[in-house]
């Protein structure tokens, strides 16, 4: 899987028209200077030998040197990774905190007003561009109410957490509508199960049934769903970082794209894709751990 992702990134980037050397040196560079730079970066060798070198570098975690910054890609990624990881973490937390109560409410009041409202909201949310939702949040909470910062990283631990609340909320909304819809269906299935009927027949209160029997069984589907949607969430952070001027991998990716910084774009794409694969693996393992019925094949 990781190898496939790496090969795809390599192929995609070498399909690019235009020469990165010319891009860095500018319009008026002499052909000799362009050729020299191409040689230094190894871009004048055959595609096959470039790929062999690329795989060798990957294994040893050498992702090359940024064309623009002139320092190693891996150290630049290391500098920006924490911000993105924090954003993904907070967004996931928000997603769970919003999804579980809404889906529970909708499933327990099936086809009644609360259910209709939740379903309506999730349909609305599906068509909502994340960047626009972020701007609306800035408008309300930062500009009108002045409760939270407009953007940037903030200072100190609390300032930093504060600065991630709106971005986290924005990023979580990229997946909340999907999560709510799926979890609601999942919970309806659990509600129809024999053991729920048995619990009710034993005279347990409705709240107790919901919290103890239904919610417990909904944890694993939620986890699996989160794993499946984490790729989309990670992709959305690229946009959210841009809206809120956060200095994470997404901002770095976009600025590297506009300066055609190949090794940088390649490195970030790889790191993001591989971390998604690893997160998926981790959620699968965790689900297997929590649910004795799942066997890892």
């Amino acid at each position: 899987m990781v190898i496939g992702v790496a090969a795809a990134t390599f192929l995609l980037l070498h399909a690019v028209p235009g020469s990165p050397a010319r891009e860095v040196l500018g319009e008026h560079a002499t052909p000799a200077a362009v050729a020299a730079l191409n040689h230094r970066w190894g871009l004048d060798r055959s595609l096959g030998s470039q790929f062999v070198r690329y795989v060798g570098d990957l294994v040893t975690l050498r992702l090359g040197v940024s064309f623009v910054y002139g320092i190693s890609v891996i150290s630049l990624i290391g500098d920006h990774l924490a911000e993105t990881a924090a954003l993904v973490g907070i967004a996931t937390l928000f997603a769970v905190l919003i999804t579980v109560p809404l889906a529970t409410l909708a499933a327990s009041r099936r086809d009644r007003l609360a259910d209709q409202a939740v379903r309506g909201l999730s349909v609305l949310g599906l068509g909502m561009p994340a960047f626009w939702f972020g701007i609306v949040l800035i408008e309300i909470f930062a500009l009108r109410l002045g409760l939270l910062p407009v953007g940037g990283a903030g200072s100190g631990l609390w300032g930093h957490i504060e600065s991630l609340i709106l971005p986290g909320l924005t990023a979580s909304f990229a997946i909340v509508p999907l999560l709510v819809r799926s979890l609601r269906v999942g919970m309806l299935e659990v509600l129809g199960a024999d053991f729920v009927a048995a619990a009710r027949a034993n005279g347990l209160g409705e709240l107790r049934v919901l919290l103890w029997h239904v919610a417990r069984n909904a944890v694993i589907p939620t986890l699996t769903l989160l794993g499946l949607n984490i790729a989309y969430l990670v992709g959305s952070t690229v946009i959210v970082e841009n809206v809120f001027a956060l200095n994470g991998l997404g901002s770095l990716l976009l600025s590297s794209i506009s300066s055609r910084d190949f090794p940088m774009v390649q490195g970030i794409t790889l790191v993001l894709a591989i971390s998604v694969v690893l997160i998926n693996l981790a959620t699968d393992l965790l689900a297997a751990r929590l649910d004795p019925r799942i066997r890892l094949g």
């Binding site: 899987m1 990134t9 960047f131 794409t269």
Partner: protein
């Protein structure tokens, strides 16, 4: 026998799409109505929009709503309502065109992989797995970077990135249909693979892809608008909702409507398409 069952199925479906059915599925009706209004509005944009979308009036910038400009004007004095309508024309057209190739290619590949199995299937699923592993926006932004910004870049990026979900959905249904009795009967009857695929497998798997295309168009339109917001999609001066939001973002403190209205337009389009998609899914669900 096979043709007989298929025949009644098609007949029943046609009857259920009648006016009576529309009343039975209020979500579908609401979605179709909203979609119709939006599509008509953007098709008729040249007729109904009061101004040309790029007509500037520098003496009348950032104005609030008035009789002359119902939704006010932007930072260059362009009429906001006219721009919204023309931008819808761009975004809806690009979104609708961008899903055609993924829909056709994904459905075809998914059907073939599911029907034949073996190494074709393994190869296709391997490619699908790799493409799905990429965060969607990272992949699309990377592809646009490679093929160049603008609408052409968008079409190519979605052609590469977006077919995988169709392939996966259709393959899963094909695996079930392949084992069904009517396909076995058709095989025993000596029909060629092409006739079985076209006559018996596709009609039963395509409804899944059609239901999915509704939510996919929403996803793609949102992505087109997002790319344009980042400056990677539709290029100015062509009006588009994403560029309008990023232009309006600068004036958030004084003129909140400029950045807000285009987003509401996107949400309305998404709402109408999602309602139609959900309604179709209900309609096509076997009883």
């Amino acid at each position: 026998m096979t043709t007989a069952t298929l025949g009644t199925g098609a007949l029943r479906r046609r009857r259920r799409l009648s006016l009576h059915a529309l009343r039975r599925f209020p979500a579908l009706t609401a979605g179709l109505t909203l979609l119709f209004v939006i599509v008509m509005a953007v098709i008729l944009a040249p007729v109904i929009s009061p101004y040309s979308p790029n007509q500037q009036n520098l003496f009348h910038i950032l104005a609030g709503p008035s009789w002359a400009h119902p939704l006010g004007t932007d930072q260059l004095g362009r009429d906001e309502l006219s721009r919204l309508l023309w931008a819808g024309r761009t975004d809806l057209r690009v979104g609708a065109l961008a899903v055609i190739f993924p829909f056709c290619f994904g459905t075809l590949v998914g059907t073939l992989a599911g029907y034949y199995g073996g190494w074709v299937d393994s190869l296709v699923m391997r490619v699908v797995d790799v493409l799905i592993a990429f965060p969607f926006y990272v992949l699309v932004i990377g592809l646009v970077f490679i093929v160049g910004t603008g609408t052409r870049g968008i079409y190519i990026a979605f052609a590469v990135a977006d077919w995988v979900v169709y392939a996966r959905t259709v393959r899963a249904t094909t695996l079930i249909v392949r084992e069904s009795e009517y396909v076995a009967a058709a095989k025993v009857g000596g029909l060629s693979d092409v006739r079985i695929l076209a006559g018996h497998v596709l009609p039963n798997t395509i409804s899944q892809a059609i239901v999915y295309i509704m939510s996919d168009i929403v996803l793609v339109i949102v992505a087109v608008v997002t790319l344009s917001y980042l400056g990677l999609g539709v290029q100015p001066p062509t009006p588009d909702w994403g560029t309008m939001v990023s232009d309006g973002q600068e004036f958030l403190t004084t003129d909140w409507a400029l950045a807000t209205l285009p987003g509401i337009a996107v949400v309305l389009v998404g709402l109408s398409l999602s309602l139609v998609g959900d309604g179709l899914a209900d309609l096509l669900r076997p009883e």
